[in-house]
């Protein structure tokens, strides 16, 4: 692919271009198992530069991959056809904070935690809070519809975005959404952009809805000897109308991982449920906590510890927080891969889903755990395997397929928050079989030359294992 570097230099300046093979190699991967190679990395700093890059790329039919921090887990930013990687981290200004309107306007490269640090003095926060909020950019979060532990109460990114400025494939700039909480009529184009994974446009500014920081927050941890009981507690907590601000599940593999690698001393039980309530009025938080505690106890939950104190809460949550670290070091020789990493199932199927994941792992000779923000219907797993062995990839491929076959069979969905990209695309395409034509038509209408993050989601290859090279050296 011929790319006119001089032209790109004219647009962003020589200091904002990289094309050494070493740079391209780095920008060819993310937190997924995939690896590709871009042709050039550019770093725009203004909307006009983004427009000029897209105008050029559209005219020359060059793929453009918008990139935040590259923390996506499904290969969303891995180039398949080389092209231009557009690193948006330098567009990182918080444009304005309007407490009176409960909104802020930011550039796409602002990191979530940095935004929340800036909002704190106003007594406000931006709620989606993915676990990766310390690095995830607002652009990446919107394009993935990220969510997190507090989404059970505050919703996902889609519920927190009021509007945005987007540069379309042909370089046109459009203003979508509004500055208001409601916008009733017409196609919700701003919402269409949420979760579009860089395939429909480049988000260059976002208007975000803010929430007041709660005054009280209480966290509890309950142990269960049966996974089923834990699942039923979660389901009943939601069904009774309780309002948790966090409702998390950890299975026995997750508990063992945390205990063996980090010596955390969590109870050696089949499952742990963590529940939290927050609010302005302590009595109201007390009432929510009492209700959730009673439900857990009714379903044989025991050893319930609870605290309002920040230090105590940090201690209670430490096992969950450090789970990823623990999984990475679960067993010498095994790597923690982001495969079948997220899904959503109806509440009543949480426990069954976790058990299915265990069964599938065993059958395919890999290790899989089940945990997640179950309060919002989200279940996570990771596949722990020796990534240098071919047969492990065969097992992983079968496991991914079986997990998602099950998820579909119970009316669940392929991605709760980590996106589709490449590694979840085959399962997602099966799930969306009857709307694939619509999805493709939308893509064609907005990006007729297919330059925006091509070959992802509905257009991704059929086999994720061979979609790109794997980032591990497979023997």
């Amino acid at each position: 692919m011929k790319i006119d570097l001089e032209k790109l230099k004219e647009i962003v300046g020589a200091d904002n271009i990289k094309n050494d093979i070493a740079d391209l190699y780095i920008y060819g991967s993310d937190a997924s198992v995939h690896k590709g190679l871009a042709s050039v990395v550019v770093r725009p700093t203004t909307i006009e530069q983004v427009q000029a890059i897209l105008r050029y790329a559209n005219a020359e039919l060059i793929p453009v991959i918008a990139r935040g921090s590259g923390s996506g887990m499904s290969g969303q930013v891995v180039p398949i056809d080389s092209g231009i990687v557009m690193d948006l981290k330098k567009m990182n200004r918080i444009i304005e904070i309007r407490p009176e309107d409960m909104l802020c306007k930011v550039e796409p490269g602002v990191v979530d935690d940095e935004l929340n640090r800036a909002l704190k003095p106003y007594g406000l926060f931006y709620p989606p809070a993915p676990a990766s909020s310390r690095v995830a950019t607002i652009g990446g979060e919107i394009a993935n519809n990220a969510s997190g532990i507090r989404s059970v109460k505050y919703g996902a990114t889609r519920d927190s975005v009021l509007g945005m400025k987007v540069v379309l494939a042909n370089g046109d700039l459009v203003n979508l959404g509004s500055n208001t909480r409601v916008e009733a009529s017409g196609y919700q184009l701003d919402r269409l952009m949420v979760g579009s994974e860089g395939t429909l446009g480049v988000i260059v500014e976002a208007t975000l809805l803010l929430k007041p920081l709660p005054k009280f927050r209480c966290l509890a941890k309950a142990s269960f000897n049966e996974l089923k009981d834990a699942g039923e507690s979660i389901s009943e907590i939601i069904a009774t109308g309780a309002q948790p601000s966090m409702l998390e599940l950890m299975d026995n593999i997750a508990i063992t991982a945390v205990n063996t690698t980090l010596k955390m001393g969590l109870p050696d039980v089949e499952a742990i449920v963590m529940f939290e309530a927050d609010g302005k009025v302590k009595e109201a938080v007390d009432a929510e906590m009492k209700l959730m505690k009673e439900i857990c106890e009714k379903h044989n939950g025991f050893g319930i510890e609870m605290s309002y104190d920040v230090a105590e809460r940090t201690k209670l949550y430490a096992g969950r927080k450090k789970l990823f670290a623990a999984l990475s070091r679960y067993q010498m020789g095994l790597s923690c891969t982001s495969l079948a990493d997220d899904m959503a199932v109806p509440y009543s199927k949480m426990a069954e889903c976790a058990s299915k994941i265990h069964e599938i792992a065993k059958r395919n000779n890999v290790v899989m755990t089940a945990y997640g923000h179950c309060g919002s219907g989200c279940m996570h797993t990771k596949i722990l395997m020796d990534p240098t062995k071919k047969e492990q990839w065969e097992g992983a491929k079968r496991a991914v397929e079986e997990v998602y076959d099950y998820v579909r069979s119970v009316g669940g969905t392929t991605s709760a928050e980590h996106g589709i990209g490449l590694s979840k695309a085959p399962a997602w395409k099966k799930e969306k079989a009857d709307s694939l034509k619509m999805l493709k038509a939308i893509k064609k209408a907005l990006d007729p030359n297919n330059i925006l993050n091509p070959h992802k989601m509905q257009d991704a290859p059929e086999d994720w294992v061979t979609a790109t090279e794997l980032r591990y050296p497979v023997e």
Binding site: K18, D20, I21, A22, D23, Y25, I26, Y27, S29, D30, A31, S32, V41, R43, S69, G70, S71, D87, K89, K90, D113, S132, R134, V135, F324, A325, S328, R329, M332, G333, S335, C336, S338, P387, T388, R471, Y472, P473
Partner: protein, 353 residues
């Protein structure tokens, strides 16, 4: 073999989940802003060399050497990857492939010929008989007044320091990838210091002797704290944690306790203790990339100025040097002032009164 040293770290490289959490506090990434400058970027480069996807090049070497070894990345890493160990192995492979910089080669030669990194034969330890072996290290030896001050502090606290005609601890050879030279040097060092217990003045020497030679090292601050009487200097200051002291040696409270005992009101920077921001002086960049080192130093000194304290105290000679320079630059630009002092100055002042 381009991966002779790296191949020992294959598992560690496979464990990295590429989450990018190491972007958050990496001082080099914060300045340069390209992913190539982050810990994850460097880990990916090392992986590329190991897997044969990338051929070692000058560009890759430059990137792998642009790291202060501050270990902020490992501290924040979701998988606790020993980034610095991986990079040290990558550096060793790159040096063996002929990519050592002239500055670093010169430093290695200095250590071999004179026993210190400066290649200055005049730099000599003030040899004295005593009870407790004290290791001074090149940086303090090049600052004879401060060395003298620390030794006097120890004597005043009733301790008789034993000072030998010492040589460099070897850390720079190891960190900059001169493994062959390091192996020879290590032998010499261990012959000179057969003792199991050592008190070290410099945080970096302390961390290295502790980690690599597996000796029971006490940093001078721990030692001072045990013996220090209470005083009241009535000062207000902020404290800068040297990376090797906080993140490697886990020594964060002792220096603060010392300041408290001396009646100093401590105002913390938001990034303190294990999340302290690097001064920019480590990992060899002070020699090979002064501009980058200066820029990192300025970021840190601005954080110190924001506390409103008129004084910054640190027990590390390198941090002191870099931050003093940064304070001068910032002050000249009219962006605030702060005095930078070594902990020894403060303790000595207190003991004199």
């Amino acid at each position: 073999m381009a991966d002779k040293h790296l191949k020992d770290w294959k598992n560690e490289l496979n464990i990295c989940i590429r989450c990018a959490y190491c972007f958050e506090g990496c001082p080099v990434f914060k300045i340069a802003g390209w992913e190539t400058d982050s810990a994850r970027g460097k880990i990916i480069l090392a992986y590329g060399i190991l897997t044969g996807n990338l051929k070692p090049s000058q560009y890759i070497a430059d990137k792998i050497f642009q790291c202060t070894y501050c270990r902020d990345c490992s501290e924040r890493c979701s998988a606790k990857v020993s980034v610095v160990d991986v990079l040290a192995a990558a550096r060793a492979d790159l040096v063996e492939a002929g990519f050592a910089s002239d500055t670093h080669k010169g430093m290695a030669k200095n250590v071999e010929e004179t026993g210190n990194i400066f290649g200055d034969k005049e730099i000599k330890a003030p040899v004295q008989k005593g009870e407790i072996p004290v290791y001074i290290g090149c940086q303090y030896l090049a600052r004879p007044n401060q060395t003298k001050m620390y030794l006097k502090i120890l004597e005043k606290l009733g301790v008789k320091p034993l000072v030998k005609d010492e040589i460099c601890c070897g850390y720079p050879l190891h960190a900059l990838g001169f493994r062959k030279e390091f192996a020879e040097h290590k032998k010499k060092f261990l012959e000179l210091f057969p003792e199991k217990e050592i008190v070290a003045l410099c945080p970096t020497c302390a961390a290295f002797i502790h980690e690599d030679y597996k000796k029971n090292v006490k940093h001078i601050t721990q030692f001072i704290l045990e013996h220090l009487p209470e005083k009241n200097l009535g000062l207000k200051a902020t404290y800068h944690d040297p990376c090797d002291l906080s993140r490697v040696m886990n020594i964060t409270e002792e220096p603060r306790e010392i300041l408290k005992k001396l009646g100093i009101e401590l105002v913390e920077m938001p990034r303190n203790r294990k999340t302290s921001h690097c001064c920019g002086g480590g990992g060899g960049i002070l020699m090979s990339d002064v501009k980058l080192s200066d820029e990192i130093g300025i970021v840190r000194i601005k954080q110190a100025i924001e506390t409103g304290a008129p004084l910054l105290i640190t027990p590390c000679p390198t941090c002191e040097q870099v931050l003093k320079k940064a304070a001068a630059v910032v002050s000249e630009k009219g962006d605030g002032t702060i005095q930078v002092k070594n902990l020894s100055d403060i303790v000595w002042k207190a003991l004199k009164t």
